[in-house]
Symmetry: D2
Subunit: 479 residues, 4 copies
């Protein structure tokens, strides 16, 4: 599936016990989280209380040159962020980490998620004279913290108070002059974990793969509602906002967003996807000659389906790894043909065969239709499509950018057989909601399934006709 669902962010932070090249460490960590956001990247370094930052649009590799990375200098702490910017959010001021000064000093903040009461918060701060540089929710989190900081004895106390005010999804890393603080909303919508660096410092990251990438050692997930405070004296934890309710991790972290080599809430992402493939076979098995996955995220589930069914696993596609962001799209006339530039079928694998094709989702259906056409042209006798998630029917309020309802094929067509016809497959089946809830091996980890059910674990904004970015723009017209 080509980039039709988007997660908004990856966060990374490092605390070392000495002044060292923390910018370089964060740079490496962001590479491992690049799949979580490709629109912009930034790093803020704390060097004995002095903050330096560098941010820009584009991939980590493009934002950071040798020169700009070196300009960050050394330090003992750094935080970094990669971001996917949604429509209307093209304001360069939105690039994170946010780095600001307040009455008690410097604060840098990196945030993954989406607040549900962002507009109310913003308004309350503005009524008190606040000015906003960005349109992201992150600045509201910063104001919430800073407002509490005035009468709090420490930054962590301020964060603890502020967490009573901010609602929705947030996995955050904050950096003050002396502390690195990670905190996560009480539902645990977005992942966040902690580990040791190779030098016995600490690392915090959206996914464990980033800890691996810097040669660190995974410790555990930050708990939903937990505040972890790292100082030169070690780690402490504030759990006032923790509770015993099942976690509400975004199910798409397992199905699509996270890297298969990450472990989230105690479950291997790769294993969860293998499991999805097994359930797909159990729920909607069909006889065939080969099982293939759409790269990259469909491959694991395809292998799971193959293992469960005994139908051979095949490598069905060659994905061109050189197509990057500067690729010049061909003119309309050539476009239809040019699908194959990104994804070519390995004819050998499918020719003359009954093919089971596994993907992680169908959004509008256009891409799926093209892929099926390629497989048929390569000589497949039958194509049976299996989707390793339930169908999308509703909006996400917690940081995933799903297409608008009128574009979602599962909203436009009542039954699956209609969709199968449009896409051109012999059969089509989705993963059941029940199966989706069983993907994690950890019993405490439940999922938010709002995008499949329209039912959300917390209250969501009611004004759902307009998307929030249109709202923001229209508001900003008044003077």
């Amino acid at each position: 599936m080509f980039n039709s669902i988007h997660e908004e962010c990856g966060v990374f932070g490092v605390f070392e016990n000495k002044t060292t090249n923390v910018a370089q460490t964060t740079y490496l960590g962001l590479f491992a989280l690049q799949h979580r956001g490709q629109e912009s990247a930034g790093i803020a370094v704390c060097d004995d209380g002095i903050f330096r930052h560098y941010k820009g649009k584009g991939l980590v590799e493009n934002v950071f040159t040798k020169e700009s990375l070196d300009s960050l200098g050394k330090g003992n702490m750094a935080i970094g962020h990669v971001r996917y910017s949604t429509t209307g959010g093209d304001n360069p001021n939105n690039i994170q980490p946010l780095t600001v000064r307040h009455v008690k000093g410097n604060l840098a903040l990196a945030h993954n998620g989406n607040l549900t009461n962002a507009d109310e918060l913003r308004k309350s701060f503005e009524m008190n004279g606040a000015i906003f540089h960005a349109t992201s929710d992150t600045e509201s989190i910063a104001y919430a913290i800073v407002r509490e900081r005035i009468n709090s004895s420490s930054i962590e106390e301020a964060i603890n108070h502020a967490m009573s005010d901010i609602k929705g999804a947030y996995s955050c890393i904050a950096m003050s002059a002396t502390k690195l603080i990670a905190f996560r909303d009480p539902n645990g919508f977005r992942p966040l974990c902690i580990g040791y660096t190779a030098d016995n410092g600490y690392v915090v990251a959206s996914e464990s793969c980033a800890i691996d990438s810097i040669g660190g050692k995974f410790i555990r997930d930050i708990l939903p509602g937990e505040i972890v405070v790292i100082t030169k004296d070690g780690i402490t934890s504030i759990k006032d906002h923790c509770n015993e309710a099942p976690h509400k991790l975004c199910v798409f972290e397992f199905i699509y967003f996270a890297r298969p080599d990450s472990v989230i809430e105690g479950s291997s992402v790769h294993h969860a996807r293998i499991t999805a493939g097994k359930y797909l076979y159990e729920e909607s098995g069909v006889d065939a000659d080969v099982v293939i996955g759409v790269p990259d995220s469909g491959l694991d589930a395809a292998l799971g389906y193959s293992q469960a069914s005994g139908i051979p696993y095949g490598i069905g596609f060659l994905k061109n790894k050189y197509i990057g962001r500067s690729f010049i799209k061909p003119s309309q006339a050539q476009r239809e043909n040019a699908v194959r530039i990104k994804l070519n079928v390995i004819k050998e694998t499918v020719e003359g065969k009954r093919v089971i094709l596994i993907d992680d989702s169908i959004v509008r259906g256009t891409t799926s239709k093209r892929i099926v056409k390629l497989i048929r042209e390569a000589g497949a006798k039958e194509v049976h499509m299996r989707i390793s998630a339930p169908p999308f029917i509703s909006q996400c309020y917690f940081g995933t950018d799903v297409d608008s309802k009128e574009n979602l094929i599962a909203c436009k067509y009542d039954n699956v057989s209609d969709i199968a016809k449009i896409i051109g497959v012999d059969s089509l089946a989705y993963l059941s909601l029940d199966a989706a809830h069983k993907l994690a091996t950890n019993s405490k980890c439940d999922f938010c399934d709002g995008c499949f059910t329209g039912k959300y674990p917390v209250e969501v904004p009611t004004n759902i006709e307009k998307n929030k970015f249109e709202q923001k723009i229209s508001e900003s017209k008044n003077n």
Copy 2:
């Protein structure tokens, strides 16, 4: 003289009666003001209440590509800014115009000058929960306005109130969703003027040359203390902060910063420099064969000296116009020779002659010494240097970045003949303070001469041991 004194900014704003290419107009205007700041540039456009901005480091020509200029779209208002960033101020968030949202909508702000109570202001806002993205004074001005805006009926009323709180030098252009507002501090330290665009709209700019450059028509200077409000209903003016005291324009605007084709406070800058040359002759005339000026700012005064003295004017130097910001400086060994790459003497003009050399200032003396050496090597028999300003001896608090006292040659040496010896000239004289005060033809225009006298027209911060940037950094260490 090569770039040893720096002015911090140029501002530009345009208001048209229809939606048109105001970004392009501002782009042209900033080109005309580029001499006022070469470190960064930015433009903010208002398109029916929606704000778009683009900012970056470097010259206007480098910051704005066709693509980034087009990304600003059309609109009926725009403001722009060019900036010279002082040490410690390399924070990209400092690039102007500042564009923020507050309780009543969008605000963009472009500022030239320097506040004297910036630190107190900042602290008072922070105590109320404010967060600062930038280290420039401009954000404090914005907070001052926004704080007043909550209880004011209009943005101009808020500015009027805010002007009671902010002290020092400020020539500002603000843009709200419907209004373009220009305001200038009561002393008028920095210039600001208004004109018509070719389409009967309005233009506001630091210097009149920017009005010329867009084919506009100069109307008048904004008065010290005046607030000019431009809406679709025309122009109105608030003069609560105007007074009858003589204006305190920075004298270096005439001597060095402003373009000779600009008219400030009713006086032609070119004419003021010609006049400086005449006074130099009257005060310290010497017999010679030719008068030459150091390009570019010494040329006018040299012509004035020639006219007054009857000594022929000569073109003494070829300045290489291709040496830009990407020039790779030669290694130390080659550096001494490489002075000539920037400025070569036209031997024909000086060989065998007694030369009067006019420059606008001597800061450290190093450059002057090299230039004198070049002239002597080209065969000059005598070199008499005349400086079209009094000697620097003190810091500026109003937006000019003078070298620190320990580097100023006029601070290190008590008398002029010592300096003459170091620089290697046969004689040296500066313009008198009295003459400097007579450079403007307009009697209402007096000057701030703090950098020559150490006496300032308004109270200045007392903590003068440390420069303010060091202060800011040390403060920011606390948490």
Copy 3:
């Protein structure tokens, strides 16, 4: 395996029956061939006899911007080239296609391969007054053609004569003002095939995947020794240099260079690799719990091994697809850890298991050693490495850049068990030479196996102590 063996080029050409966007078509084709060379790229367009070209260092995506691609304009023919530049060959003049003028008009030439008599040819032309801009063999091919062109009635006749003079490996595409001509050396060292475009024109390419990528239809391979001439009157073929001897395709085209979705000499590359995996099992099977391949080129053989052995196929690695050419390598201290940034083990797949690890080659052994270490750290109980090719022991003279002998681990150590020990595996086996010769399904397709045997199908230069680039440089010192 990380990029330790290098193929030098990919070639692409298109002939349409009307003036159209052939530059865009070639751009797409080069994307599909990017794996064959990443150092530079170029396109030459023929527009009614007028030639335009654009070439540069870097990936296709970086060399061609919208602007540079548009600068090529439209035309009815174009050729393109991607290149891997070997040490000493960093001369920008070497970037292809070569575009020159000779007595009969324009000629553009794109070449994949390496001549064995390049030096003699060059000397003979130089003795006649020739000047060389590049150090590549391609310019010698051009001279050979142009020398014959003077007394030939057509460009194809000149090529036919020239082919008697040039020895070694060459798959070439030439473009004159009216003709597109593809020709291949009589041994067929490098692949070259032809197809139809979607508009009934013709396309020639190094691999069939490039024909797929533009929505074309594969026709057949160009025969070893064949000259295919495409004009507006259609296709003709000259076969004077064809013979009945078995083809001598570079075996590494199947094992490593070519894309798995390509079909070469009638055999699917994917299938050939699956077959290699099967032979590996048959020749050196070992009991284990999972078979994994090193991405990307080891995956197919791993699947083949799994299919033949019944041992489950696993997805063992996550390869970070965002690490590009601008990645800033970490400092030495961090480097060891940073292996994982490129390739992280999926612990779930290998933990507690006996692992069979398939790769396509071992060059120095360093990378293999690190990969094995990662797998062990992830908890593998045993690691058995199988290599889908025989060991390298000798130089290639036909366009593959193998490491020098003193670095090749298979030259340094006599027996496989020593290598196994160094790499840290429980067992190690290579594909046998016999099996390598059976990878193609087409009986006419035999292979050059010089790099495994030191025996070459044609005479090779005897001066093998120095590599040819050192030679070239030392020669060029004389005057």
Copy 4:
């Protein structure tokens, strides 16, 4: 005058007695010659017989980054080139220095000028099998040398023979593995001079200002027809092609191309322009209040006119030095106004006055008309234009790119008063041809005045209907 006449090149070469940073020296030298060509730049370094080069489109400052300059390494010789590329000559292969290999080794060549028998030469080489990469004449010079080199005992002997074959204008610097050789055509159309470097090496350059710029010491002009050979044993000279006829320097070198601080053929360029101003007064004096020059090249002549007439010299314009090659031109609607962005009138200088305006040429008249309009709008009572050269009426065959005849205003209108009317001046006069011939102080220096008379010192190509670039393109269509 804005860039309507173009000179094609500047050349620079350095020979040091030790291995040192000759690339840096050449980089500085090219900066001093940048005015002679702004389209491309290149440097070739010889390091103990090994050649490295770097070339690119754009200004010296843009072509050479720290990285690309460093990539050239050190050496004991280097040559460099700046180029203005004429229409049709946008082939990147044309960027100089040309660096090739021939039978006796490496050769680098930098050329300023234009051959009159380039086409015949090219054809004769092509008939012998030559291939041409570039469309510039330089490659023909290289072939002529290389052809002779085969049977010559040295490179300088080959050059001496080749000079019998090549006709027209050429000031060249050649570099072999051990020698730096400068040679100039027997008419001396283009300047070329020699000096010492600061380290007692030698420097050769188009103009003496480049010698100054590297801290060198001017020795003398290379004679027309002379070959100067520099080796580690010192300098020798071959004068077989020298003769006693008056030199035929391009008169526009004095009037427009060369830098005023250069000395050519013993005459100061600044002085020659002062002299042109004096002759203008003597030939067509008019009473007025002020004399102003159009920057930059009209300033010297204006000063000369002022000195001769006693009418005060004024600084009439501010030329915006920030308008570079990346300036985004305003849309048509704004363009008329935007003239002032480049050149603003200093009102103070011209208001209410009778103005004499000096420029170096009128090509199409469009720019002159706009400038005159600006002066009138600034309040000038009268505008009298004086041109410091005779009117253009004919093409140049020796390296100057004059507009085509149908565009030249002096070709379209028979008498000067018609032109005056179009341009909008009260009177207009050109320098007489006689006066132009008296600009040099050196009696041996006469001028080529072909562009003013249509009479050329050597035979020129007869096919003048089409310009040579159109010819080349049409020829290249044949196959």
